[in-house]
Subunit: 399 residues, 2 copies
């Protein structure tokens, strides 16, 4: 499907998505990030790719294994992509796993443990990294590891008792949208690698359905036109800082995960909800004064406690570029073309480093770069190259 | 002692310190913050003093008990100050204490537990709050509680095993300057209330000496001209994000705590070190481009991972105003007068809310207000009014 907007911009967008991905972003990470001595990926890189910190983020090992693996498995079977993906998968397996089987959050360059955290996102990202390693090599060990990591993710994030809650549940029981979004996208991505297998009694498609259902049931509030980040056990809105805190980029990311699932199963009602999620959170997050997406906003327009709320982070922009493009392709609606144009243009005017390649990650409200880092414990080869790949696929009629 | 600088600015500074304290800041918190229904203080206040979140920060209960109590005990015996102080002290005692005796980090308005944290700053601030309650009332219960809270603080922060470390100590053992700074200032402030009593085998003065000694021994690096935030067990510098992370305002706060102790005991060598601490961290933290103190900088000028590093927070400016004024009074050196002028003028040009009173807490690098909040879980009636009181005392030749 194409549209006047996409006909007009197709070449330019392909340059930004396909060409930058292949010629700028992935080469940057291959050249500077992949650790040829110890394996895995070093993500704390300065403006020119110099290593600023050798400690390794475990999230990013899984995400890089996935990104390089996906490229190898779906774009072109390039040996350097395979090698990078497997290097990260092996580092995860051999150097990031605690005796309990749970993964650390950070380790040293060599893989000595630094931090263990309560939650299990390291596991979800490992699952998709191992999944791509299986798809690339056909070695069942990687499939088994992928399913075991997903199993642990589901167990910890859904069975009470495994993750000590931050806030006393007897006083204020809460549920967050984060674990459901990650359940959804992990089930989706893993399904591409290992097929629609059963884990903990449900197929991956059923886990994706559970996640969509609970996101809609507990976090989407049509009366308030909002996607909440944190609610009570039955979706109650808590009138406190944390309860009112909205993360528009995060909710917009959830919107395209849900829209993708709705399109796959031909569910028009769910697709409509996903479009609502995007509409609501665009309305709340887009900065009419300076452009770009605000990081946090308050449900009731009250001041936000988190003091970095006004900054423009790279990843919400990536998620909004995907969501608006997918929404435009799904509906043909010119409204989404206009939103895509806005967020694409603002993003590409502010984040890319024209001189040394890759992107800056953090801007102030006005769009000025606030740090020269190309990566850190949270920014690695993931949100931005994923956006480029997903959008390239969309422009080519895939997905 | 006076100086040409202070002679010239005395009236203006007294207006900013004494008059604003008495006529703007404390009335703001008395009117809007003190919770006349449930006791204690509500700190999450909007621009006009409206309550934005009713949850209560336990740190701030202790700090407000101290602030109001100090005013009552050292400035004037105003009943409303006493009442506010005791309201916070009672709320701490009755509604913030876990069955284990440890204090929570946040509770609901009524005092139901919300968050418990690993560390023990709630206890240190409770100690000084209870201390002022004792000084005001003479009731030994408050003295006993103050000493018990200090005892627990010392035990947890100095005996291994009570606070699970964030980073695996077998891989990278670390010590932070924070617990020593708080040990020092808590011992100092408590000594004013209960005298130089013995706790866990040492007098408060000896605890202050231990803190000064360890700050100098482990965190001050004359060769690098820096005060570190976090080092190895023997003061080793770790060349990683966290190891290189400097917080100039925090170190400048430490500098005046140390200088105050050095003056008290007539220790000229220690005073010289405190002045070095101030000099080094002013040099590293002062923003030559836009003025004000940067929140975080890197030891080696590398990029900082914490994405709010460039913001201007209120409290480092308060600490620098005290430190430069005390250094000027101690030395008579015009250099410190110039530093005081710079930080005072920048601070008072950017943070106060001329329309609705009190201060904004968070600015961007250029000095623009980024949130209208007057308080939150970290900002309450403490750093800023303490600065005004300490500086007023200094101008009057006290301290």
């Amino acid at each position: 499907m194409t549209t006047p907007y996409l006909t007009e911009r197709r070449d330019e967008l392909l340059r930004c998505y396909r060409d930058d991905l292949l010629h700028d972003v992935m080469p940057f990470w291959l050249r500077h990030g992949i650790d040829r001595e110890q394996g895995g990926v070093l993500s704390a890189l300065g403006r020119r790719g110099e290593v600023v910190d050798t400690d390794k983020a475990v999230w990013i090992q899984g995400r890089a294994a996935w990104m390089f693996g996906t490229l190898h498995n779906t774009v072109e079977r390039r040996p350097e992509w395979l090698e990078a993906s497997l290097s990260c998968a092996r580092f995860l397996r051999d150097r990031c796993t605690a005796p309990s089987g749970k993964l650390y959050f950070t380790v040293t360059r060599e893989g000595k443990p630094l931090r263990m955290r309560r939650y299990v996102y390291s596991e979800s990202f490992a699952a998709i990294g191992y999944g791509e390693a299986f798809r690339a090599t056909g070695e069942v060990e990687w499939r088994d590891r992928a399913l075991a990591a997903f199993d642990l993710y589901v167990k910890f994030s859904r069975e009470p008792g495994h993750i000590p809650p931050k806030v006393e549940p007897a006083t204020r029981p809460t549920r967050g949208i984060g674990p459901l979004m990650i359940l959804l996208v992990t089930a989706q991505d893993l399904r591409e690698c290992v097929g629609d297998v059963v884990v903990r009694g449900r197929s991956l498609t059923d886990w994706a359905a559970v996640a969509c259902e609970e996101i809609v049931q507990f976090f989407c509030k049509p009366d308030l036109k909002v996607v909440m980040e944190q609610v009570g056990p039955n979706g109650e809105v808590y009138d406190h800082f944390d309860g009112r805190l909205l993360n528009p980029g995060h909710a917009i990311e959830a919107a395209w995960f849900v829209l993708r699932e709705a399109r796959r199963r031909g569910d028009r009602v769910l697709a409509r909800t996903a479009l609502d999620m995007l509409d609501w959170m665009w309305e709340r997050g887009w900065d009419r004064e300076h452009g770009g997406l605000l990081y946090f906003v308050d449900l009731m327009g009250k001041p936000v406690q988190e003091y970095w709320h006004f900054q423009k982070f790279w990843w919400p922009h990536n998620e909004a570029i995907i969501a608006t493009l997918l929404a435009h392709l799904h509906t043909g609606d010119a409204k989404y073309a206009e939103m895509h144009r806005k967020v694409h243009d603002w993003t590409y005017a502010h984040f890319p480093d024209r001189e040394h390649g890759e992107w800056f990650g953090y801007l102030d409200r006005q769009g000025r770069v606030t740090t020269e880092l190309k990566g850190n414990m949270w920014k690695g080869p993931f949100h931005m190259p994923r956006q480029k790949l997903v959008c390239w696929n969309l422009l080519e009629g895939r997905g």
